[in-house]
Subunit: 229 residues, 2 copies
DNA sequence: GGCCATTAACCTTTATTAACCTAAAAGAAA
DNA sequence: TTTCTTTTAGGTTAATAAAGGTTAATGGCC
């Protein structure tokens, strides 16, 4: 599992440094640039998963850059950082069309939430499990409905349970890093929510115990492997 | 299907840029103009599929422009962007006959949805049955009449119920952010009206319970997903 | 008065944190 | 090398906090 690559274009170096560090400490790979004219080349070279563009840049503004990027790639999500001007009304949190706007000053939390939103909605279509039903051992897993149906009973899963099961299933028979799971489901792998994952693993094990051929194996110090028989 | 051409008349350049960017990224071709006096010529030249007119323009206001356009073309849909101070009465007179209006500040999502609606009313799409009616599971939803017809009974929906259902349906099988819903329907996502949404979700769930294949799934901490079977 | 939107009150579910327990490696002493 | 500790990662369960669900009451507006 590779890290999510963020192309971040910002000319305020001090702000840029803070943002970059915060993103990196949450497991993002950050490619930074302060010169608007160089962004397109960098985009081609690095092929990022998401772009964060300051609108106010010395040479070429964020919108112009976005236009260029869109010519190369129609899907990559773009977040614009806009100065607080008269646009207050307009730029009110809408997250559609693969673009998003954040008004400066913004909090790191906000930026991270938006990034995750855009990535989530994008991967919606490309996920390996179809929106319909997937057979997992004796069970049938309806991802969209968040339902795990055994032979006798159906269980409604919460979003986290459902996403974790999906992740395990998509990577079945492979070792998945604990860190990667934490980054994907919780957005970071800090000490605090790391016990959270254990709790959900326990839950899933208990939900899946009707079929003994299904097992979530712990690889101590590394992660898990979901074996499906 | 070639691109949909949108003629967009706006004098606030910064807003215009954002809107244009968002529309283009959704695959629309945007023809922009900031001078009301030049619009009619531009219309003749480009023959757009839909017009979006700011009402407050320096030389000629949006309504006057619309009159001129209507002399040339009776069918092209026109969306007015009106300032929030505008009285509803004034605007309402213009909303008949393929016209619509959106009050500023508006969200891009709202604009896009309106554009799509107006275009769909002209050429019937796959999900539209006829005359603005949409099949949702066993139900038929008459958007412009705000009526949800089940197999046995018909229910009149209120404006909010209707708008929420529309939003859910148009984004079915995708996760919609709670925040986005609040911003679209209530204009903000403050703590206060946030419980309001829950109430309407409950109402819709109850209205839709005749068809068990329809489900509004909660994604706790994020939003909802409307699955339609 | 009737219709809606909103607010309030109270309840349920889900996520997170905490506390305590167990198993696996890694070291040290025999 | 064996065996006995020590350390560390993870497992389990319960408690707490947060988010949302439901229903009823309130209040505004034709």
């Amino acid at each position: 599992m590779t890290n999510v690559k963020v192309l971040y274009v910002e000319d305020e170096l001090f702000l840029g440094k803070i943002v970059r560090e915060s993103l990196e400490c949450r497991g993002f790979e950050v490619i930074m640039e302060d010169d608007g004219a160089k962004v397109l080349d960098l985009f081609k070279k690095t092929n990022p998963d998401i772009c964060v563009l300051d609108v106010m840049l010395p040479n070429k503004d964020g919108f112009a850059i976005a236009d260029e990027i869109r010519e190369l790639n129609e899907d990559v999500p773009i977040i614009f950082l806009t100065a607080k001007t008269q646009t207050e009304d307009v730029v009110k949190g809408f997250t559609l069309g693969g673009n998003d706007y954040i008004r400066k000053p913004f909090s790191m939390e906000e930026l991270i939430v938006r990034i995750q939103n855009l990535l989530r909605n994008k991967s919606e279509g490309t996920t390996k499990i179809s929106g319909g039903a997937t057979a997992i051992g004796k069970y049938t897993f309806h991802l969209n409905r968040q339902v795990l149906a055994g032979e006798k009973e159906e269980r409604k899963l919460s979003y986290r349970e459902s996403e974790l099961l999906k992740l395990l299933y998509e990577n079945r028979d492979k070792i998945i890093d604990r860190k990667d799971i934490l980054n994907l489901l919780w957005g970071n792998d800090s000490f605090f929510n790391s016990r959270n994952l254990d709790v959900y693993i326990t839950k899933l094990r208990s939900y899946l115990k009707e079929d003994t051929s299904l097992e979530i194996i712990t690889i101590k110090g590394i992660g898990y492997r979901f074996v499906t028989g």
